[in-house]
Symmetry: C2
Subunit: 475 residues, 2 copies
């Protein structure tokens, strides 16, 4: 990873030098377009459209997990709001989504020291049956430690994974920790375990368990899996530290219902002379159900819609079409972005530049990218237009996000105004994901950064080249 980064930086440097020495005029933005960026900055930092949108979405719709009544309400909300903002070509694209229902869940330590603890089923978990599961628990750090246990060690036991997520600004701690949630349940089931409990993939010491999708393997039984908040995971570790057997009781009514209909919601600001080229602003519309989906991902909805609205309200006419896509069901299998890709297979190449907003409500602290290294000087120019927003210059290994994954794999360049993730995982996927977690000032700054970079991305006088290098693994 480090070597790659170094090569990319070196490449960027060379490209910058050649640009500074002025070879190719087509790499330089036109003065009026840069002036327009200034206008966007002034207007954006004073514009409350995004706040109004996320307030409305969280208040009038609230939880909207795939297939739920809130999901349908969110689709209707998004279409209505795009129309009322005056977006062009507002439309929905049907998407079939899995429909998992959380139901209720209970967790208790039975011995050595009986205590109930608040718990959330992991997304997609099967239920326990009405009688629940009672068994002795085995504590391990992660999947590697599980697999290193002696044979039979977890058979007929409940496995408790203790691995704790690290707090980082770029969210990289999540990627390192989340494997336990995704793969832990089947890894334990393959060894004969009856159930799984994980320490939440969360940086918070508040008592909010953190949900999120697991992925069952086909070669192992489906066993129920739950998350405990960090303070409860600490308390459970102390029960183990007693040296006495730790006996747990798990119960939940989680279940799968038949697949349901949802939709991607799409709106545009049509381009002028290069209208066939699309600059995509994407974010998912669905949320997990315990909270109201304010930072994940009402904020992303508000940032992308707010950015497009800002450009439009400034009276700007982009050369390329800027398209907002609110994807269905990112959380439980990225159904919406897969459907979008399938539907746009023939037109995938028209998506010349992508932005994703799915990392909270800002502020933007860095501009990263994933472009053809020869075009890093273009990113540098965009970065300079963003400079008054106090950004750092990131590398060229941006992942985009889960919903851009398919297009990025096809070589679509990505610009990433990176949202500050320092506190994101305190709240993400918990009941605490409410409007109170959003700072309106940071939100306005984020909208502004997205609007300026999308605008300049749409005005770039050259041709956005495909990215040939393999895409880095998803964050």
């Amino acid at each position: 990873m480090r070597t790659i980064k170094f090569l990319l930086i070196a490449g960027s440097l060379l490209a910058t030098l050649s640009s500074v020495h002025g070879a190719d005029k087509s790499l330089t933005f036109a003065k009026p377009d840069l002036n327009a960026a200034k206008t966007l900055r002034e207007r954006g930092l004073a514009d409350n459209t995004a706040w109004r949108l996320v307030e409305s979405l969280t208040t009038e719709v609230g939880p909207r997990s795939a297939g739920s009544p809130g999901d349908a309400a969110a689709v209707a909300w998004a279409k209505r709001e795009m129309q009322s903002l005056g977006f062009a070509n507002v439309r929905t694209m049907d998407v079939t989504v899995p429909h998992w229902v959380r139901g209720d869940a209970q967790f208790a330590v039975l011995s050595p020291w009986p205590q109930p603890m608040p718990v959330l089923a992991l997304g997609g978990s099967v239920g326990t049956g009405a009688e629940g599961i009672e068994a002795e628990a085995v504590m391990v750090r992660d999947v590697a430690a599980l697999n290193a246990l002696p044979a039979g060690a977890v058979k007929d036991h409940i496995v408790f994974f203790t691995n704790r997520m690290e707090r980082t600004q770029d969210g990289s701690g999540y990627g390192k920790a989340v494997g336990v949630r995704v793969a832990g349940p089947s890894a334990a089931a393959a060894l004969g375990a009856l159930g799984v409990v994980i320490r939440s993939i969360s940086t918070s010491d508040d008592r909010f368990p953190h949900t999120g999708a697991l992925r069952y393997r086909d070669d192992a039984p489906r066993i129920p899996a739950f998350a405990l908040s960090n303070p409860d995971a600490d308390a459970l570790e102390r029960q183990f530290a007693s040296g006495k057997p730790v006996r747990l009781r798990l119960w939940s009514t989680s279940r799968d219902l038949p697949p349901a209909r949802s939709a991607n919601v799409i709106g545009e600001l049509p381009g002028t002379d290069r209208a066939a080229e699309i600059v995509l602003l994407g974010g998912h519309l669905d949320s997990w159900d315990p909270g109201v989906g304010a930072i994940d991902n009402g904020a992303g909805v508000a940032i992308t819609m707010g950015a497009l609205h800002l450009i439009q309200q400034a009276g700007l006419k982009p050369r390329r079409t800027i398209r907002v896509v609110l994807f269905a069901n990112e959380e439980f299998g990225t159904s919406g972005s897969r459907a979008y890709l399938a539907e746009n297979q023939a037109e995938a190449d028209r998506h010349v530049l992508g932005f994703e907003s799915d990392f909270g409500a800002g502020p933007v602290w860095r501009l990263s990218s994933r472009v053809n290294p020869a075009q890093l000087p273009v990113v540098d120019q965009i970065f300079r237009a963003l400079a008054p927003l106090k950004l750092a210059r990131g590398g060229n290994e941006a992942g985009g996000g889960a919903d851009l994954d398919g297009l990025a794999k096809l070589g679509m360049p990505v610009l990433s105004p990176d949202l500050d993730g320092t506190k994101y995982f305190d709240v993400h996927h918990t009941a605490n994901d409410t409007l109170a977690q959003i700072d309106p000032v940071a939100l306005r700054q984020s909208v502004t950064a997205y609007a300026i970079s999308a605008w300049l991305g749409a005005q770039y006088p050259g041709t956005w080249e495909k990215v040939a290098t393999p895409k880095a693994p998803r964050r």
Copy 2:
């Protein structure tokens, strides 16, 4: 209130001056006693006994509301821990406590925008019956605003109280806001309301509803009452702001069981020449049930026990007896302190000085008191011994606390090392009251402040005089 404070401060000044000018030697602490205070400071700031106690109580007992299995476990725990710390005369005093059971609760907005919201029943609330309650809601700020409504305005409605608590270091915001919780349900019921929902008496924007006792009047029907977290109360206010009727559904299985047995747990460090005089260190052992009672009041248990242990471990022999009393059921009617007072009626005058610890885990930021104004110079001397702990000098209107109320009304002087309450009401009475909310450094400082002031209180060469002034209303 201000006038009283001014008079007390003026009195203190005069008394200090007369002391400085050296009239009464008996008002001055002996040098060895002041040196011992230094020893306590050095040892206390390095001693982890209190942390170990609150960790043990929250891990091995956890929730312990009056009458619950956790309550009985806590009594056994406290007796065992006092014995193992080597306290003298360790004993329990039976207390009959009310036994209210929370059960489950659900809350949903049905219209205009359907959403479930997490909710807690107020302590003592009746349940809704299996079918729940559905009705249109009326929003009012507080009880005064409720009573100012036109006749019939809330009949057959649910009343939503919106009053928000103010954050303060001394906790005074709580007293101003809590009336809605205590008196709101019966006030609404007297006007024909079917149920009550309050904005939590909490300073937090996290999604933790905050429980606490209501008080039903005899002249009004008992109707169910619930608390919403601040962000949900905000969201509900936005539903009202739509101008459309707001319809709610309430459901809970809260109920009363027959009164149960609990106990005060008592341990001492016996005095020497003035052993009949008691310096009381009190705190309640029970907790509300949604959390594990770390800051309320595991910390108070740990501070009082830790302070006594510190004095004992330093090999100090107090002149007066220092007694720790862990009171049963403070939260739901102060049963334990009432029983203590009833049992000690004849010996009430032997309680010459009281300390209560029921305001979190510190740090101590101020030394307040409620002593005979002529003895304020004694408090000043104790304050000087505490100076390296960086305290402010408070006034002479300390309330003590709920459990000292009865003795204070009989004139017992009170010393109050005031615990910093700035963040206390973010956590108090919520599921988030866990060990993670306690800072071990602040806890050690608090134990040290209690130990030094209890020690000097026990060594005071004069006679602690009764307080004649009426006790200020409970915070």
